[in-house]
Protein backbone atom coordinates (compact mmCIF):
# COMPACT_ATOMS: atom_id res chain seq x y z
CA UNK A 1 0.00 0.00 0.00
CA UNK A 2 1.30 3.45 -0.88
CA UNK A 3 1.93 5.73 2.04
CA UNK A 4 2.15 9.47 1.85
CA UNK A 5 3.28 11.88 4.53
CA UNK A 6 2.12 15.27 3.39
CA UNK A 7 3.49 18.30 5.19
CA UNK A 8 3.97 16.20 8.30
CA UNK A 9 4.97 18.34 11.26
CA UNK A 10 5.62 17.21 14.81
CA UNK A 11 6.32 19.31 17.86
CA UNK A 12 6.85 18.31 21.46
CA UNK A 13 5.69 21.32 23.39
CA UNK A 14 7.63 24.29 22.05
CA UNK A 15 10.21 22.15 20.24
CA UNK A 16 9.47 21.33 16.62
CA UNK A 17 11.24 18.10 15.80
CA UNK A 18 9.96 17.64 12.27
CA UNK A 19 8.83 20.51 10.11
CA UNK A 20 6.66 19.98 7.02
CA UNK A 21 8.13 16.70 5.87
CA UNK A 22 6.78 15.16 2.71
CA UNK A 23 7.60 11.54 2.01
CA UNK A 24 6.09 8.93 -0.23
CA UNK A 25 6.58 5.22 0.22
CA UNK A 26 5.60 3.20 -2.83
CA UNK A 27 3.40 0.20 -2.73
CA UNK A 28 5.37 -2.93 -1.95
CA UNK A 29 8.72 -1.27 -1.54
CA UNK A 30 11.01 -1.37 1.44
CA UNK A 31 12.21 2.08 2.34
CA UNK A 32 14.97 2.86 4.79
CA UNK A 33 14.72 5.90 7.01
CA UNK A 34 18.36 6.50 7.64
CA UNK A 35 19.89 9.16 9.82
CA UNK A 36 21.92 9.83 12.91
CA UNK A 37 20.45 9.25 16.33
CA UNK A 38 17.99 11.94 17.39
CA UNK A 39 17.16 13.14 13.88
CA UNK A 40 13.49 12.18 14.17
CA UNK A 41 13.28 8.73 12.59
CA UNK A 42 11.33 7.13 15.42
CA UNK A 43 9.13 10.18 15.63
CA UNK A 44 8.24 9.72 11.98
CA UNK A 45 7.57 6.05 12.54
CA UNK A 46 5.35 6.75 15.57
CA UNK A 47 3.38 9.22 13.50
CA UNK A 48 2.79 6.64 10.79
CA UNK A 49 1.59 3.99 13.19
CA UNK A 50 -0.52 6.43 15.19
CA UNK A 51 1.21 6.39 18.54
CA UNK A 52 1.86 10.10 18.16
CA UNK A 53 -0.65 12.65 17.05
CA UNK A 54 0.85 14.81 14.37
CA UNK A 55 0.93 18.55 14.85
CA UNK A 56 0.15 19.42 11.24
CA UNK A 57 -0.13 17.78 7.84
CA UNK A 58 -1.76 14.60 6.61
CA UNK A 59 -0.97 10.92 6.48
CA UNK A 60 -2.48 8.87 3.67
CA UNK A 61 -2.59 5.09 3.43
CA UNK A 62 -3.48 4.51 -0.19
CA UNK A 63 -6.32 6.99 -0.62
CA UNK A 64 -7.44 6.78 2.96
CA UNK A 65 -6.63 9.75 5.18
CA UNK A 66 -5.60 8.18 8.49
CA UNK A 67 -4.39 11.38 10.15
CA UNK A 68 -6.99 11.13 12.90
CA UNK A 69 -7.46 7.39 12.89
CA UNK A 70 -6.46 5.55 16.05
CA UNK A 71 -3.56 3.12 15.93
CA UNK A 72 -5.85 0.17 16.38
CA UNK A 73 -7.67 0.98 13.16
CA UNK A 74 -4.64 1.70 11.00
CA UNK A 75 -3.59 -1.90 10.43
CA UNK A 76 0.11 -1.28 10.77
CA UNK A 77 2.55 -3.94 11.98
CA UNK A 78 5.46 -2.71 14.06
CA UNK A 79 8.64 -4.43 15.17
CA UNK A 80 10.25 -2.52 18.01
CA UNK A 81 13.92 -2.30 18.74
CA UNK A 82 13.40 -4.16 22.01
CA UNK A 83 10.94 -6.50 20.23
CA UNK A 84 8.36 -5.78 22.95
CA UNK A 85 7.29 -9.38 23.23
CA UNK A 86 4.75 -9.97 25.99
CA UNK A 87 6.88 -11.62 28.66
CA UNK A 88 4.07 -13.47 30.38
CA UNK A 89 2.84 -15.17 27.19
CA UNK A 90 4.35 -18.03 25.25
CA UNK A 91 5.52 -17.53 21.71
CA UNK A 92 2.29 -19.00 20.39
CA UNK A 93 0.22 -16.71 22.62
CA UNK A 94 2.26 -13.72 21.56
CA UNK A 95 1.61 -14.38 17.90
CA UNK A 96 -2.03 -15.19 18.53
CA UNK A 97 -2.70 -12.01 20.48
CA UNK A 98 -3.48 -9.72 17.52
CA UNK A 99 -5.91 -12.32 16.19
CA UNK A 100 -7.51 -12.80 19.58
CA UNK A 101 -8.32 -9.13 19.89
CA UNK A 102 -9.93 -9.43 16.49
CA UNK A 103 -12.08 -12.17 18.06
CA UNK A 104 -11.30 -14.79 15.44
CA UNK A 105 -12.28 -18.40 16.06
CA UNK A 106 -9.74 -20.46 17.97
CA UNK A 107 -9.22 -22.89 15.10
CA UNK A 108 -8.67 -20.07 12.67
CA UNK A 109 -6.20 -18.41 15.05
CA UNK A 110 -4.29 -21.64 15.37
CA UNK A 111 -4.13 -22.12 11.64
CA UNK A 112 -2.83 -18.62 11.00
CA UNK A 113 -0.36 -18.75 13.87
CA UNK A 114 1.07 -22.02 12.64
CA UNK A 115 1.31 -20.67 9.15
CA UNK A 116 3.16 -17.63 10.42
CA UNK A 117 5.48 -19.70 12.56
CA UNK A 118 6.38 -21.74 9.54
CA UNK A 119 7.07 -18.64 7.51
CA UNK A 120 9.51 -17.25 10.07
CA UNK A 121 10.94 -20.67 11.00
CA UNK A 122 10.03 -20.84 14.68
CA UNK A 123 7.77 -23.88 14.72
CA UNK A 124 9.74 -25.59 17.47
CA UNK A 125 9.71 -22.56 19.80
CA UNK A 126 5.98 -22.12 20.17
CA UNK A 127 5.71 -23.21 23.79
CA UNK A 128 8.60 -21.13 25.09
CA UNK A 129 8.44 -17.77 26.76
CA UNK A 130 10.34 -14.78 25.40
CA UNK A 131 12.90 -14.95 28.21
CA UNK A 132 13.89 -18.40 26.95
CA UNK A 133 14.69 -17.21 23.43
CA UNK A 134 17.87 -15.84 21.87
CA UNK A 135 17.85 -12.35 20.38
CA UNK A 136 17.44 -13.63 16.86
CA UNK A 137 14.57 -15.90 17.86
CA UNK A 138 12.85 -13.05 19.65
CA UNK A 139 13.22 -11.00 16.53
CA UNK A 140 11.54 -13.70 14.48
CA UNK A 141 8.67 -13.90 16.95
CA UNK A 142 8.26 -10.15 16.83
CA UNK A 143 8.13 -10.29 13.05
CA UNK A 144 5.60 -13.07 13.15
CA UNK A 145 3.41 -11.14 15.57
CA UNK A 146 3.61 -8.01 13.47
CA UNK A 147 2.79 -9.85 10.24
CA UNK A 148 0.12 -12.22 11.49
CA UNK A 149 -2.71 -9.77 11.14
CA UNK A 150 -1.72 -9.07 7.54
CA UNK A 151 -0.97 -5.39 8.02
CA UNK A 152 -0.91 -2.91 5.16
CA UNK A 153 2.46 -1.62 6.30
CA UNK A 154 5.31 -3.07 8.28
CA UNK A 155 7.40 -0.69 10.37
CA UNK A 156 10.73 -1.76 11.78
CA UNK A 157 12.43 0.51 14.34
CA UNK A 158 16.12 -0.32 14.50
CA UNK A 159 15.31 -4.01 14.39
CA UNK A 160 18.90 -5.19 14.31
CA UNK A 161 20.45 -2.86 16.88
CA UNK A 162 20.22 -5.37 19.72
CA UNK A 163 21.79 -8.29 17.88
CA UNK A 164 25.40 -9.35 17.75
CA UNK A 165 27.12 -8.90 14.42
CA UNK A 166 26.71 -12.44 13.14
CA UNK A 167 23.01 -12.60 13.92
CA UNK A 168 22.63 -9.19 12.43
CA UNK A 169 23.85 -10.47 9.10
CA UNK A 170 21.47 -13.40 9.26
CA UNK A 171 18.43 -11.33 10.22
CA UNK A 172 19.21 -8.75 7.58
CA UNK A 173 18.56 -11.21 4.80
CA UNK A 174 15.77 -12.86 6.77
CA UNK A 175 13.80 -9.66 7.12
CA UNK A 176 14.28 -8.85 3.47
CA UNK A 177 13.20 -12.37 2.53
CA UNK A 178 9.99 -11.99 4.54
CA UNK A 179 9.27 -8.61 3.07
CA UNK A 180 9.70 -9.90 -0.45
CA UNK A 181 7.71 -13.06 0.32
CA UNK A 182 4.75 -11.12 1.67
CA UNK A 183 5.08 -8.21 -0.71
CA UNK A 184 4.31 -5.84 2.12
CA UNK A 185 5.18 -2.17 2.11
CA UNK A 186 7.85 -1.69 4.75
CA UNK A 187 9.75 1.09 6.41
CA UNK A 188 13.01 0.30 8.10
CA UNK A 189 14.34 2.81 10.59
CA UNK A 190 18.05 2.59 11.14
CA UNK A 191 21.12 4.64 11.81
CA UNK A 192 23.31 2.01 10.18
CA UNK A 193 23.99 2.78 6.53
CA UNK A 194 25.06 -0.78 5.76
CA UNK A 195 21.66 -2.09 6.85
CA UNK A 196 19.90 0.54 4.82
CA UNK A 197 21.92 -0.09 1.72
CA UNK A 198 21.76 -3.86 1.89
CA UNK A 199 18.10 -4.33 2.74
CA UNK A 200 16.10 -1.61 1.09
CA UNK A 201 14.81 -0.61 -2.29
CA UNK A 202 15.23 3.05 -1.54
CA UNK A 203 16.77 5.10 1.20
CA UNK A 204 15.40 8.32 2.66
CA UNK A 205 18.21 9.96 4.49
CA UNK A 206 17.27 12.29 7.31
CA UNK A 207 19.11 14.96 9.16
CA UNK A 208 17.75 17.17 11.94
CA UNK A 209 14.16 16.41 11.11
CA UNK A 210 14.44 16.87 7.36
CA UNK A 211 14.68 14.43 4.51
CA UNK A 212 17.83 15.31 2.68
CA UNK A 213 17.62 12.88 -0.21
CA UNK A 214 15.61 9.92 -1.35
CA UNK A 215 17.17 7.52 -3.84
CA UNK A 216 18.14 3.94 -4.45
CA UNK A 217 21.19 2.91 -2.45
CA UNK A 218 23.49 2.86 -5.51
CA UNK A 219 22.30 6.20 -6.78
CA UNK A 220 22.67 7.80 -3.38
CA UNK A 221 26.19 6.45 -2.98
CA UNK A 222 27.33 7.65 -6.36
CA UNK A 223 25.40 10.80 -6.43
CA UNK A 224 24.87 12.28 -2.97
CA UNK A 225 23.05 15.55 -2.91
CA UNK A 226 24.88 17.02 0.06
CA UNK A 227 28.05 16.74 2.00
CA UNK A 228 26.05 15.21 4.85
CA UNK A 229 24.77 12.38 2.66
CA UNK A 230 28.21 11.73 1.22
CA UNK A 231 29.65 11.57 4.70
CA UNK A 232 26.91 9.34 6.05
CA UNK A 233 27.08 6.68 3.36
CA UNK A 234 30.13 4.59 2.70
CA UNK A 235 32.31 2.42 4.85
CA UNK A 236 35.16 3.20 5.22
CA UNK A 237 33.91 6.77 5.09
CA UNK A 238 34.63 9.41 2.53
CA UNK A 239 37.43 11.93 3.20
CA UNK A 240 36.86 15.64 2.87
CA UNK A 241 39.30 18.36 1.82
CA UNK A 242 38.37 21.93 2.76
CA UNK A 243 39.57 24.89 0.74
CA UNK A 244 38.57 27.54 -1.79
CA UNK A 245 37.76 27.65 -5.45
CA UNK A 246 40.39 28.85 -7.86
CA UNK A 247 39.90 29.44 -11.57
CA UNK A 248 39.39 25.92 -12.89
CA UNK A 249 40.27 24.17 -9.71
CA UNK A 250 40.54 23.98 -5.96
CA UNK A 251 43.16 24.98 -3.46
CA UNK A 252 43.10 23.29 -0.08
CA UNK A 253 43.60 25.24 3.11
CA UNK A 254 47.13 23.86 3.28
CA UNK A 255 47.98 24.77 -0.28
CA UNK A 256 47.45 21.63 -2.37
CA UNK A 257 46.04 22.60 -5.75
CA UNK A 258 43.67 20.19 -7.47
CA UNK A 259 42.36 20.70 -10.98
CA UNK A 260 38.66 19.87 -11.22
CA UNK A 261 36.87 18.42 -14.27
CA UNK A 262 35.16 20.96 -16.45
CA UNK A 263 31.79 19.31 -15.77
CA UNK A 264 31.71 20.81 -12.28
CA UNK A 265 30.13 24.29 -12.28
CA UNK A 266 32.61 26.15 -10.12
CA UNK A 267 31.68 29.21 -8.07
CA UNK A 268 33.71 32.40 -8.37
CA UNK A 269 37.34 31.99 -7.24
CA UNK A 270 37.75 32.54 -3.53
CA UNK A 271 34.44 30.86 -2.56
CA UNK A 272 34.73 28.14 0.02
CA UNK A 273 34.59 24.59 -1.32
CA UNK A 274 34.78 21.09 0.06
CA UNK A 275 35.94 18.10 -1.93
CA UNK A 276 34.74 14.61 -1.09
CA UNK A 277 37.00 11.75 -2.14
CA UNK A 278 35.95 8.17 -1.46
CA UNK A 279 38.72 5.72 -0.48
CA UNK A 280 38.25 3.64 -3.61
CA UNK A 281 38.84 6.70 -5.78
CA UNK A 282 42.27 7.45 -4.38
CA UNK A 283 45.10 5.02 -5.16
CA UNK A 284 47.84 4.06 -7.55
CA UNK A 285 45.64 4.70 -10.59
CA UNK A 286 43.94 8.05 -11.27
CA UNK A 287 44.59 11.29 -12.97
CA UNK A 288 45.33 13.80 -10.24
CA UNK A 289 48.58 12.85 -8.51
CA UNK A 290 49.05 13.96 -4.95
CA UNK A 291 51.89 13.34 -2.47
CA UNK A 292 51.53 12.32 1.12
CA UNK A 293 52.75 10.18 3.97
CA UNK A 294 51.09 6.97 5.14
CA UNK A 295 50.03 7.70 8.68
CA UNK A 296 47.94 4.63 9.46
CA UNK A 297 47.31 1.20 7.99
CA UNK A 298 44.23 -0.79 8.91
CA UNK A 299 44.11 -4.36 7.72
CA UNK A 300 40.60 -5.41 6.81
CA UNK A 301 41.41 -8.85 5.55
CA UNK A 302 40.79 -8.80 1.83
CA UNK A 303 41.76 -5.13 1.65
CA UNK A 304 43.86 -2.58 3.40
CA UNK A 305 42.79 0.89 4.38
CA UNK A 306 45.47 3.56 4.31
CA UNK A 307 45.26 6.96 5.91
CA UNK A 308 47.40 9.37 3.94
CA UNK A 309 48.36 12.67 5.52
CA UNK A 310 48.99 15.40 2.99
CA UNK A 311 51.79 17.95 3.54
CA UNK A 312 49.16 20.51 4.57
CA UNK A 313 47.94 18.21 7.35
CA UNK A 314 44.67 17.23 5.64
CA UNK A 315 43.95 13.55 5.32
CA UNK A 316 42.77 11.26 2.53
CA UNK A 317 41.79 7.58 2.73
CA UNK A 318 42.59 4.89 0.26
CA UNK A 319 41.35 1.35 0.10
CA UNK A 320 43.32 -1.12 -1.96
CA UNK A 321 43.78 -4.84 -2.34
CA UNK A 322 46.48 -6.20 -0.04
CA UNK A 323 49.92 -5.07 -1.04
CA UNK A 324 53.24 -5.50 0.75
CA UNK A 325 55.20 -2.69 -0.77
CA UNK A 326 54.15 0.26 1.37
CA UNK A 327 54.87 0.73 5.03
CA UNK A 328 53.80 3.12 7.72
CA UNK A 329 55.32 6.60 7.47
CA UNK A 330 56.41 5.96 3.92
CA UNK A 331 56.11 8.86 1.50
CA UNK A 332 53.92 7.96 -1.47
CA UNK A 333 52.46 9.62 -4.51
CA UNK A 334 49.02 8.25 -5.38
CA UNK A 335 46.30 9.72 -7.59
CA UNK A 336 42.69 10.79 -7.29
CA UNK A 337 40.14 9.73 -9.90
CA UNK A 338 39.23 13.28 -10.93
CA UNK A 339 35.85 12.49 -12.45
CA UNK A 340 34.73 10.88 -9.20
CA UNK A 341 35.50 13.84 -6.96
CA UNK A 342 32.37 15.17 -5.23
CA UNK A 343 32.35 18.96 -4.91
CA UNK A 344 30.27 20.81 -2.32
CA UNK A 345 29.77 24.50 -1.78
CA UNK A 346 30.09 26.19 1.57
CA UNK A 347 26.54 25.14 2.58
CA UNK A 348 27.34 21.51 1.85
CA UNK A 349 25.28 21.42 -1.33
CA UNK A 350 26.64 19.35 -4.15
CA UNK A 351 27.77 21.34 -7.18
Amino acid sequence: MRILLDGFTKSFGPMTVIDKMTLEIRDGEMLALLGPSGCGKSTTLFAICGIHKISAGRILFGDRDVTNVASQQRNVGVVFQSYALYPHMTVAENIAFPLEVKKLKAAEIKRQVDQMAELVHIEELMKRRPAELSGGQQQRVALARALVRKPDVLLLDEPLANLDSKLRLEMRSEIRRLQLATGITAILVTHDQVEAMSMCDRIAIMNAGEIVQIATPGEMYRNPRTEFVAGFLGNPPIAFLHGVATSGGFASVGGEAIALPASVPLPPPGSKLTLGIRPEHFGPTGNIPIRGRISFIETQGRENLYDVTLPSGSMLRSIQPLRGDVALNEEIEWSIAGDRILVFDEHGTRL
Binding site: I51, A84, L85, K102
Partner: protein
Protein backbone atom coordinates in the same frame (compact mmCIF):
# COMPACT_ATOMS: atom_id res chain seq x y z
CA UNK B 1 31.38 -6.96 53.46
CA UNK B 2 35.00 -6.52 52.70
CA UNK B 3 37.23 -8.90 54.55
CA UNK B 4 39.74 -6.26 55.53
CA UNK B 5 37.61 -5.36 58.53
CA UNK B 6 36.73 -7.81 61.23
CA UNK B 7 33.00 -8.35 61.53
CA UNK B 8 32.67 -9.82 65.01
CA UNK B 9 32.92 -6.63 67.09
CA UNK B 10 30.04 -5.17 65.13
CA UNK B 11 28.00 -8.34 65.40
CA UNK B 12 28.61 -8.43 69.13
CA UNK B 13 27.69 -4.79 69.63
CA UNK B 14 24.52 -5.10 67.66
CA UNK B 15 23.60 -8.32 69.43
CA UNK B 16 23.74 -6.52 72.77
CA UNK B 17 21.60 -3.67 71.48
CA UNK B 18 19.09 -6.07 69.94
CA UNK B 19 18.88 -8.26 73.03
CA UNK B 20 15.90 -6.50 74.68
CA UNK B 21 13.88 -6.82 71.51
CA UNK B 22 14.68 -10.48 71.07
CA UNK B 23 13.99 -11.05 74.75
CA UNK B 24 10.55 -9.48 74.51
CA UNK B 25 9.54 -11.63 71.57
CA UNK B 26 10.97 -14.83 73.01
CA UNK B 27 9.12 -14.27 76.27
CA UNK B 28 5.99 -13.47 74.29
CA UNK B 29 6.00 -17.01 72.94
CA UNK B 30 7.28 -18.76 76.06
CA UNK B 31 4.83 -17.13 78.46
CA UNK B 32 1.81 -18.33 76.53
CA UNK B 33 2.51 -22.01 77.15
CA UNK B 34 4.16 -21.95 80.56
CA UNK B 35 3.52 -20.74 84.06
CA UNK B 36 6.02 -18.66 85.95
CA UNK B 37 5.98 -18.05 89.68
CA UNK B 38 5.65 -14.39 90.70
CA UNK B 39 9.07 -12.85 91.16
CA UNK B 40 10.73 -15.42 88.97
CA UNK B 41 11.85 -15.25 85.37
CA UNK B 42 12.11 -18.96 84.70
CA UNK B 43 8.90 -20.87 83.99
CA UNK B 44 8.23 -23.94 86.12
CA UNK B 45 5.62 -25.80 84.08
CA UNK B 46 4.25 -26.29 80.62
CA UNK B 47 0.54 -25.52 80.30
CA UNK B 48 -2.14 -24.75 77.75
CA UNK B 49 -4.26 -23.04 80.37
CA UNK B 50 -3.70 -19.60 78.91
CA UNK B 51 -5.27 -20.68 75.64
CA UNK B 52 -8.72 -21.50 77.02
CA UNK B 53 -9.97 -18.23 75.61
CA UNK B 54 -10.18 -20.07 72.30
CA UNK B 55 -13.12 -22.15 73.43
CA UNK B 56 -14.52 -20.29 76.46
CA UNK B 57 -15.05 -16.59 75.86
CA UNK B 58 -13.48 -14.30 78.44
CA UNK B 59 -16.32 -13.00 80.66
CA UNK B 60 -17.85 -9.84 79.26
CA UNK B 61 -16.00 -10.15 75.95
CA UNK B 62 -17.25 -11.34 72.59
CA UNK B 63 -16.26 -14.72 71.23
CA UNK B 64 -12.67 -14.64 69.98
CA UNK B 65 -13.55 -16.41 66.73
CA UNK B 66 -16.19 -13.85 66.00
CA UNK B 67 -13.62 -11.14 66.59
CA UNK B 68 -11.07 -12.92 64.43
CA UNK B 69 -13.62 -13.22 61.66
CA UNK B 70 -14.35 -9.49 61.91
CA UNK B 71 -10.65 -8.79 61.67
CA UNK B 72 -10.31 -11.02 58.65
CA UNK B 73 -13.25 -9.36 56.94
CA UNK B 74 -11.93 -5.93 57.80
CA UNK B 75 -8.42 -6.61 56.55
CA UNK B 76 -9.48 -8.51 53.44
CA UNK B 77 -12.14 -6.07 52.36
CA UNK B 78 -10.03 -2.97 52.88
CA UNK B 79 -7.08 -4.48 51.07
CA UNK B 80 -9.32 -5.56 48.21
CA UNK B 81 -10.60 -2.00 47.86
CA UNK B 82 -7.12 -0.53 48.07
CA UNK B 83 -5.90 -2.99 45.48
CA UNK B 84 -8.63 -2.44 42.95
CA UNK B 85 -8.68 1.34 43.23
CA UNK B 86 -4.91 1.69 43.26
CA UNK B 87 -4.32 -0.62 40.36
CA UNK B 88 -6.69 1.36 38.18
CA UNK B 89 -5.82 4.86 39.36
CA UNK B 90 -2.09 4.10 39.39
CA UNK B 91 -2.29 3.02 35.77
CA UNK B 92 -4.12 6.13 34.76
CA UNK B 93 -1.55 8.35 36.41
CA UNK B 94 1.33 6.43 34.93
CA UNK B 95 0.12 6.00 31.39
CA UNK B 96 -3.04 7.72 30.28
CA UNK B 97 -3.72 11.21 29.00
CA UNK B 98 -6.42 12.33 31.39
CA UNK B 99 -7.31 15.94 31.97
CA UNK B 100 -5.77 17.34 35.17
CA UNK B 101 -3.24 14.55 35.24
CA UNK B 102 -0.57 16.73 36.87
CA UNK B 103 -3.07 17.87 39.42
CA UNK B 104 -4.04 14.30 40.28
CA UNK B 105 -0.39 13.32 40.55
CA UNK B 106 0.47 16.17 42.85
CA UNK B 107 -2.62 15.37 44.87
CA UNK B 108 -1.67 11.75 45.33
CA UNK B 109 1.85 12.70 46.27
CA UNK B 110 0.68 15.19 48.87
CA UNK B 111 -1.86 12.76 50.26
CA UNK B 112 0.76 10.05 50.38
CA UNK B 113 2.73 12.18 52.80
CA UNK B 114 -0.31 13.70 54.48
CA UNK B 115 -0.93 12.34 57.96
CA UNK B 116 -4.45 11.07 57.54
CA UNK B 117 -4.93 10.28 61.21
CA UNK B 118 -5.46 14.00 61.77
CA UNK B 119 -8.77 13.68 59.97
CA UNK B 120 -10.14 11.19 62.42
CA UNK B 121 -12.25 13.68 64.37
CA UNK B 122 -14.05 14.81 61.22
CA UNK B 123 -14.38 11.26 59.92
CA UNK B 124 -15.82 10.15 63.25
CA UNK B 125 -18.46 12.85 63.08
CA UNK B 126 -19.23 12.14 59.44
CA UNK B 127 -19.72 8.44 60.09
CA UNK B 128 -22.04 9.31 62.96
CA UNK B 129 -24.04 11.56 60.72
CA UNK B 130 -24.37 9.11 57.84
CA UNK B 131 -25.10 6.21 60.16
CA UNK B 132 -21.99 4.16 59.46
CA UNK B 133 -20.62 4.56 62.97
CA UNK B 134 -20.07 1.21 64.67
CA UNK B 135 -20.30 -0.72 61.42
CA UNK B 136 -17.60 -2.74 59.72
CA UNK B 137 -18.54 -1.26 56.37
CA UNK B 138 -17.78 2.25 57.57
CA UNK B 139 -14.42 1.49 59.08
CA UNK B 140 -13.43 -0.67 56.09
CA UNK B 141 -14.17 2.20 53.76
CA UNK B 142 -12.19 4.65 55.87
CA UNK B 143 -9.23 2.32 56.21
CA UNK B 144 -9.18 1.66 52.48
CA UNK B 145 -9.38 5.35 51.71
CA UNK B 146 -6.55 6.26 54.02
CA UNK B 147 -4.27 3.55 52.61
CA UNK B 148 -5.17 4.35 49.04
CA UNK B 149 -2.79 7.24 48.27
CA UNK B 150 0.14 5.04 49.24
CA UNK B 151 -1.29 2.26 47.10
CA UNK B 152 -1.75 4.49 44.08
CA UNK B 153 1.74 5.82 44.53
CA UNK B 154 3.27 2.37 44.68
CA UNK B 155 1.29 1.07 41.75
CA UNK B 156 2.21 4.09 39.68
CA UNK B 157 5.85 3.41 40.43
CA UNK B 158 5.53 -0.16 39.26
CA UNK B 159 3.55 0.73 36.14
CA UNK B 160 6.28 3.23 35.31
CA UNK B 161 8.73 0.35 35.00
CA UNK B 162 6.67 -1.53 32.43
CA UNK B 163 8.23 -0.74 29.03
CA UNK B 164 6.21 1.57 26.86
CA UNK B 165 6.97 -0.65 23.90
CA UNK B 166 4.79 -3.38 25.36
CA UNK B 167 1.85 -1.05 25.34
CA UNK B 168 2.68 0.35 21.95
CA UNK B 169 2.92 -3.16 20.58
CA UNK B 170 -0.44 -4.01 22.08
CA UNK B 171 -2.06 -1.04 20.45
CA UNK B 172 -0.52 -1.87 17.11
CA UNK B 173 -1.87 -5.38 17.54
CA UNK B 174 -5.29 -3.81 17.58
CA UNK B 175 -6.08 -4.00 21.28
CA UNK B 176 -7.98 -1.23 23.06
CA UNK B 177 -6.28 0.60 25.91
CA UNK B 178 -8.41 -1.33 28.34
CA UNK B 179 -7.40 -4.68 26.85
CA UNK B 180 -3.80 -3.56 26.84
CA UNK B 181 -4.06 -2.78 30.53
CA UNK B 182 -5.93 -5.94 31.45
CA UNK B 183 -4.06 -8.47 29.36
CA UNK B 184 -0.63 -6.99 28.81
CA UNK B 185 0.26 -4.55 31.57
CA UNK B 186 -1.48 -5.93 34.63
CA UNK B 187 0.30 -9.29 34.36
CA UNK B 188 3.64 -7.44 34.38
CA UNK B 189 2.92 -5.87 37.76
CA UNK B 190 1.69 -9.01 39.46
CA UNK B 191 4.48 -8.89 42.05
CA UNK B 192 3.40 -5.36 42.89
CA UNK B 193 -0.20 -6.41 43.25
CA UNK B 194 0.83 -9.20 45.55
CA UNK B 195 3.02 -6.91 47.62
CA UNK B 196 0.46 -4.14 47.87
CA UNK B 197 -2.34 -6.58 48.63
CA UNK B 198 -0.34 -8.16 51.41
CA UNK B 199 0.76 -4.83 52.75
CA UNK B 200 -2.78 -3.50 52.84
CA UNK B 201 -3.97 -6.71 54.44
CA UNK B 202 -1.34 -6.56 57.16
CA UNK B 203 -1.99 -2.90 57.67
CA UNK B 204 -5.70 -3.62 58.13
CA UNK B 205 -5.01 -6.59 60.38
CA UNK B 206 -2.85 -4.41 62.65
CA UNK B 207 -4.97 -1.27 62.58
CA UNK B 208 -6.02 -0.08 66.00
CA UNK B 209 -7.00 3.57 66.08
CA UNK B 210 -9.63 3.47 63.35
CA UNK B 211 -11.69 0.54 64.63
CA UNK B 212 -11.21 1.74 68.19
CA UNK B 213 -12.69 5.12 67.35
CA UNK B 214 -15.11 4.23 64.59
CA UNK B 215 -16.34 0.74 65.45
CA UNK B 216 -15.73 -0.11 69.11
CA UNK B 217 -18.92 -2.14 69.54
CA UNK B 218 -18.66 -5.78 70.59
CA UNK B 219 -20.47 -6.93 67.46
CA UNK B 220 -17.94 -5.43 65.10
CA UNK B 221 -14.88 -5.60 67.29
CA UNK B 222 -11.57 -6.53 65.71
CA UNK B 223 -8.66 -8.23 67.42
CA UNK B 224 -6.70 -5.07 68.13
CA UNK B 225 -9.64 -3.45 69.90
CA UNK B 226 -10.46 -6.69 71.68
CA UNK B 227 -6.93 -7.08 72.96
CA UNK B 228 -6.60 -3.42 73.92
CA UNK B 229 -9.86 -3.69 75.83
CA UNK B 230 -8.62 -6.77 77.62
CA UNK B 231 -5.40 -5.07 78.62
CA UNK B 232 -7.10 -1.88 79.72
CA UNK B 233 -9.51 -3.76 81.99
CA UNK B 234 -7.98 -3.29 85.46
CA UNK B 235 -10.16 -5.96 87.06
CA UNK B 236 -8.71 -8.80 85.07
CA UNK B 237 -4.99 -8.53 84.96
CA UNK B 238 -3.63 -11.68 83.36
CA UNK B 239 -0.44 -11.05 81.42
CA UNK B 240 -0.27 -14.64 80.16
CA UNK B 241 -3.78 -14.32 78.72
CA UNK B 242 -2.91 -11.03 77.03
CA UNK B 243 0.14 -12.62 75.52
CA UNK B 244 -1.75 -15.68 74.32
CA UNK B 245 -4.35 -13.53 72.62
CA UNK B 246 -1.45 -11.48 71.29
CA UNK B 247 0.22 -14.53 69.81
CA UNK B 248 -3.08 -15.66 68.33
CA UNK B 249 -3.31 -12.21 66.78
CA UNK B 250 0.27 -11.82 65.59
CA UNK B 251 1.02 -15.28 64.20
CA UNK B 252 -0.70 -14.73 60.84
CA UNK B 253 1.27 -11.52 60.45
CA UNK B 254 4.61 -13.16 61.14
CA UNK B 255 3.85 -16.06 58.82
CA UNK B 256 2.81 -13.83 55.95
CA UNK B 257 5.86 -11.73 56.52
CA UNK B 258 8.21 -14.70 56.50
CA UNK B 259 6.72 -16.12 53.32
CA UNK B 260 6.54 -12.88 51.40
CA UNK B 261 9.43 -10.96 52.92
CA UNK B 262 10.99 -10.08 49.58
CA UNK B 263 7.80 -8.65 48.19
CA UNK B 264 6.97 -6.69 51.29
CA UNK B 265 10.44 -5.21 51.75
CA UNK B 266 9.85 -3.10 48.67
CA UNK B 267 6.97 -1.34 50.28
CA UNK B 268 8.23 -1.12 53.84
CA UNK B 269 11.42 0.45 52.54
CA UNK B 270 9.66 2.82 50.20
CA UNK B 271 8.01 5.24 52.54
CA UNK B 272 5.24 3.84 54.62
CA UNK B 273 4.05 5.65 57.64
CA UNK B 274 5.55 5.27 61.06
Amino acid sequence: MTSNFRAWPVVLALSIVSAPLVLMYVYLLVDTVTSTAPGSLIPYEFTLRHWTFLWTPVPGRPDIWRVALNTLVFATASSAIVLSLSSTAGYVLSRLNVPFRRFFLAGVMVLHAFPSVTLIVAIFLVLQMVGLYNSLAGVILVKAALDMPLGIWIMKGFYDTVPWEIEMAGIQDGASRFTVWRRLVLPQVRPALLALGLFAFLSGWSEFILPQVLAPDNRVQVLSVYLAGLIADDNNFDMALFKSVGVFYVVPVILLFLFFQKHLMNIYGGGTKG
